[in-house]
């Protein structure tokens, strides 16, 4: 939906960069100019200049390569000779450059470009002759002779230390293999034309010979003292290793007739896709795929990355206390906690609402919004108590995924619904969205201001502890606490009335919500005037020692994890909100009108009409969030450094790199990858379905 909107804008503007005309646009432009000017002035023009130069040259180079390749392949159809010649020059240059770069060629001057020049000229000339030969009879001698000549150039150019001492067994085996592969490929493709078969045999044999001769050979090696360890070969062997196979390949190429128009068109068409794709695929392969495979391989090796250790790394990781620890897992720890009973309370409310609503439709249980939400909340609290009792990085990871995904999605959906067509919608949304622009490091610093405790004899500068102390003062006051109690009691009364109205109008969700809120607020009010909540500033040293410690939100285990999750929720809610907001706007208005004509209330419309339309979007948001949360690392690194039981898998992975245990570190990375796999497969199946 949003893509079409973008496309419309693209078609409208047609690539012109819009000039700001409105006052707001001009102010924005001025701000941008000011920021850029400040950066240039402050960082220093020379440093920015160097960066820009890097960017410009990299972009220029890649654009030149891209345009060049396209122009080259444009000419494949109409000017085959030119195309073949340029390809030859490029191929020759690159081959000789690579050989010289690996110090395989004789030293003929200060520049490696000299060999590249020779190679390019030689191969280019050969391709020119071969592709422009008018008479088929001439192709054979040109092909064989030309390739042999290039082989000779190579053999003579090879550095003395790189002349191969041939191992004939390897040469023959590789040649045989090459021939077999070449012929086999043709046979599999069901070609029995003898000329084609001969070509493939020659090409395969030639390549096999090259690999066997050069790869299987021993070269001259000299130890530090200058004594010869192994003997190399001589020029003759180099010639045998190069001239013969190249002549064979040349013969194979010359046997083919020059490509006709159809074939040339095909070359042009087929190669085009790969010109467009290859830069991106190169980066993906080099930066993602190959490293991924290496990581998996590495995870089966020892710290130095040499010996294979089988599953030892996995065994060590999975059995370690830091990974999974169930020593606190005792029934009394769970049943004894307040959170457990709150969870049970919510589940019970959910069940009651469901059963009562079910009576209306004559079934045992009906999943109304109220019962669903209450039970969801109950199960979430239950998950928190279970995951807070079991410890270890895998449990923490799970906890992060459950909490952040659930709460960000719920909050994002909530804000999107609340903001929809409200006054100041855009401002509210962009303020909720703002943390998306802040780095995890910045967020860590920001939230330290909220969480950091100070000594008990000082005023608290962390917001949460300050609130806690404020509550303490309130509890110990004589008059104020009763005023607050009265206000709370009034609210509880109001909620009670709301609950009663829900019962009368048979809207049991409303009853459930109000009752739940009333119970929580009532508990709070009774605690406030009864036992007391919070702390007060205490100067008396003796008294300080008797008091329980001040809440330290990032250190008090295990719920410090939840306070860290709050930071990520703060960041990710904006993301969920933006996606939901656009999905809500895309719900067809006819549906909403039909619902309101049928007399549905706003909440009924939302739960019965809008929400079902949003379900696919919920899937998108949840999968995206799971992927993002699974690899959480920065927040923990910045806020606790992995201390106080806040380790997660991604954190342990980096920690092991720090220790130099590349094997174990790769094991953690591989585990992370395995954990993501289901989401990946789900995404792939979705995509296949979409096509």
């Amino acid at each position: 939906m949003s893509t079409t909107e973008l496309v419309e804008e693209g078609l409208r503007t047609g690539g012109r960069i819009p000039v700001p005309r409105t006052p707001a646009g001009i102010i924005k432009t001025l701000i941008a100019v000011a920021v850029v000017a400040f950066l240039v002035y402050y960082v220093g023009p020379s440093s920015i200049g160097a960066t820009l130069l890097k960017v410009v040259s990299a972009v220029g180079l890649s654009v030149a390569l891209f345009v060049g390749a396209n122009l080259l392949f444009n000419s494949a159809y109409a000017r085959w000779t030119q195309f073949a010649t340029i390809c030859g020059v490029a191929f020759g240059c690159v081959t000789f450059l690579v050989l010289d770069g690996n110090r395989a060629m004789r030293d003929i001057g200060p520049s490696p470009w000299l060999w590249a020049l020779f190679g390019g000229a030689a191969v280019g000339a050969l391709m020119f002759l071969l592709s422009s030969a008018r008479y088929p009879a001439l192709r054979l001698p040109i092909g064989v002779g030309g390739f042999a000549a290039i082989g000779l150039l190579l053999a003579l150019g090879v550095d003395d230390s790189r002349q191969p001492a041939l191992d004939w067994a390897k040469v023959l085996i590789c040649t045989g293999l090459g021939v077999a592969i070449g012929v086999g490929r043709r046979l599999v493709a069901n070609t029995s034309d003898p000329q084609r078969l001969a070509q493939s045999a020659l090409t395969g044999g030639g390549i096999g010979w090259l690999i066997g001769a050069w790869g299987g050979a021993t070269f001259r090696a000299v130890d530090d003292a200058g004594a010869v360890v192994t003997n190399g070969g001589n020029v003759g062997e180099a010639i045998v290793a190069t001239v013969l196979p190249l002549a064979a390949i040349g013969l194979a190429i010359a046997m083919r007739t020059p490509p006709d128009a159809l074939r040339r068109r095909e070359v042009e068409q087929r190669s085009r896709a790969w010109i467009f794709l290859s830069p991106a695929l190169l980066f993906i392969a080099g930066g993602l795929l190959v490293p991924l495979v290496q990581t998996v391989v590495q995870s089966f090796k020892d710290p130095a990355g040499e010996q294979n250790v089988g599953f030892a790394n996995y065994h060590n990781v999975i059995t370690s206390e830091a990974f999974f620890n169930k020593s606190n897992w005792v029934l009394s720890n769970i049943v004894g906690s307040r959170l457990f009973w709150i969870a049970v309370f919510f589940v019970a409310i959910g069940v009651i609402i469901g059963v009562v609503s079910g009576r209306k439709v004559r079934s045992a249980f009906e999943a109304t919004p109220g019962s669903t939400i209450a039970m969801l909340a109950g199960f979430f609290f239950l998950a928190c108590i279970v995951l807070g009792t079991l410890r270890g990085s895998i449990i923490n990871n799970l906890w992060w995924v459950v909490t952040v995904t659930l709460l960000s999605t719920a909050l994002g959906l909530g804000v999107a619904v609340l903001a929809d067509s409200a006054k100041g919608e855009n401002i509210a949304k962009s303020l909720i969205f703002l943390p998306m622009a802040i780095s995890f490091v910045g967020a860590g610093v920001i939230w330290t201001l909220i969480y950091k405790p100070r000594n008990i004899n000082e005023p608290q500068s962390g917001l949460l502890d300050a609130i806690w102390f404020g509550l303490g003062e309130l509890s110990n006051s004589s008059v104020q606490k009763w005023i607050v109690f009265a206000i709370l009691a009034a609210i509880v009364g109001g909620l009670g009335a709301l609950a009663w109205s829900g019962v009368r109008s048979q809207q049991f969700s409303r009853t459930g919500f109000s009752l739940g809120m009333a119970v929580l607020l009532g508990l709070f009010a009774i605690l406030l005037v009864g036992r007391g909540i919070g702390f007060e500033i205490v100067d008396d040293r003796a008294l300080q020692n008797q008091l329980p410690p001040i809440p330290d939100f990032v250190r008090d285990q295990p719920f410090n994890n939840m306070w860290l999750m709050v930071v990520l929720i703060w960041i990710q809610t904006g993301f969920a909100m933006v996606i939901f907001s656009s999905a809500i706007k895309a719900v067809p208005t006819e549906f909403l009108e039909a619902a309101s004509i049928d007399g549905a209330t706003r909440s009924q419309t939302f739960w019965r009409v809008t929400l079902p339309q949003l379900l696919p979007t919920v899937g998108v948001v949840v999968t995206t969030l799971i992927v993002a949360v699974m690899k959480v690392y920065d927040v923990i690194q910045v806020m606790t450094g992995g201390q106080s039981g806040t380790q997660v898998i991604a954190f342990q992975m980096i920690e092991q790199v720090n220790f130099g245990n590349f094997g174990t570190s790769s094991t953690f990375a591989a585990l992370l990858f395995v954990a993501i796999l289901p989401v990946m497969i789900y995404n792939i199946r979705n995509m296949q379905k979409a096509k």
């Binding site: 893509t3 693209g10 078609l11 990299a58 993602l288 690194q637």
Partner: protein
Amino acid sequence: MSTTIVDPSRAGGRAYRFLRSIPSWVLWLLVVVWLTPTLGLLVNSFREKAVQQRQGWWNVLLGHMEGFTLANYRAVLADATGNVPTIRSGLASSLAIALPATIIPIGIAAFAAYAFAWIDFRGRQPLFIATVSLLAIPLQVALVPLLRLFNFGAHLTIPWLDKTITVFPNLGLAGTTNAVWLSHTAFGMPFAIFLLHNYISSLPRDLFEAARIDGADHFRIFWRLVLPLSVPVLAAFAIFQFLWTWNDYLVSNVLLRLVGQPDFQEFPTTLVIAGQASASFGASEHLLTAGAFVQSAIPLVVFFLLQRFFVRGLLAGSVKG
């Protein structure tokens, strides 16, 4: 069908109006909660060390306007003394990472997205799905091999023949910003291709057919037609990638800090601030706020100026449509 549902809350106009306004009150309450932490950072970055520690920042809202100073910013933005990374060198490095990592992938990904959308070749669909499925890969799995690649180059040993070929020479990239932006370019590629493909493939088919009839080939269509029409989505991607690379901590941490001889001059702002946060808590704690604000100011400016593109990019990149 007309069933009249009696809603008691509709009785009594004022109470009803009050109930109706509750959602917007909740919304603005959430907005305030969401804004509070950032506001705290902003306020504290302008206050003296002693005041920061003695009073919570919210006291300013209650009228305690004391201890305001620009000294934190002056200290943070000052020149380096000794071999410690500063915000100044950090900003230079962040730019040296974020600018190439933003601009270079744009073209590369646009080429690929065009090929996936409009060039017919064998294996197009599987290759596209394979590319995009890499979106979900946690980049942690690639970091250690990349660190080794930049440290030692890549060498391939052919089994049996026992010869080692250098696939990627050791160019001395380890510990430099070049290593970081190269990695970001690779990491950003799947998302870039996905986003741009979504856009380019929904350009109207008539455009392409008309161009084809006029004799334009793929190259010319891409250059003259697709690229200019794609400016909005290219901008959206650029904002994304800029925010992501500017704010990144993980990749820089591994590729710059975990090398043998880390060069502090190459550290981006995120590393500088995280280092200050963990190293010298107490002594320069009060400077962190100013540092974090300078670090966040640039993405915030980008965010506010170009939010429209950012939001649309987010939508085009996640919602299929």
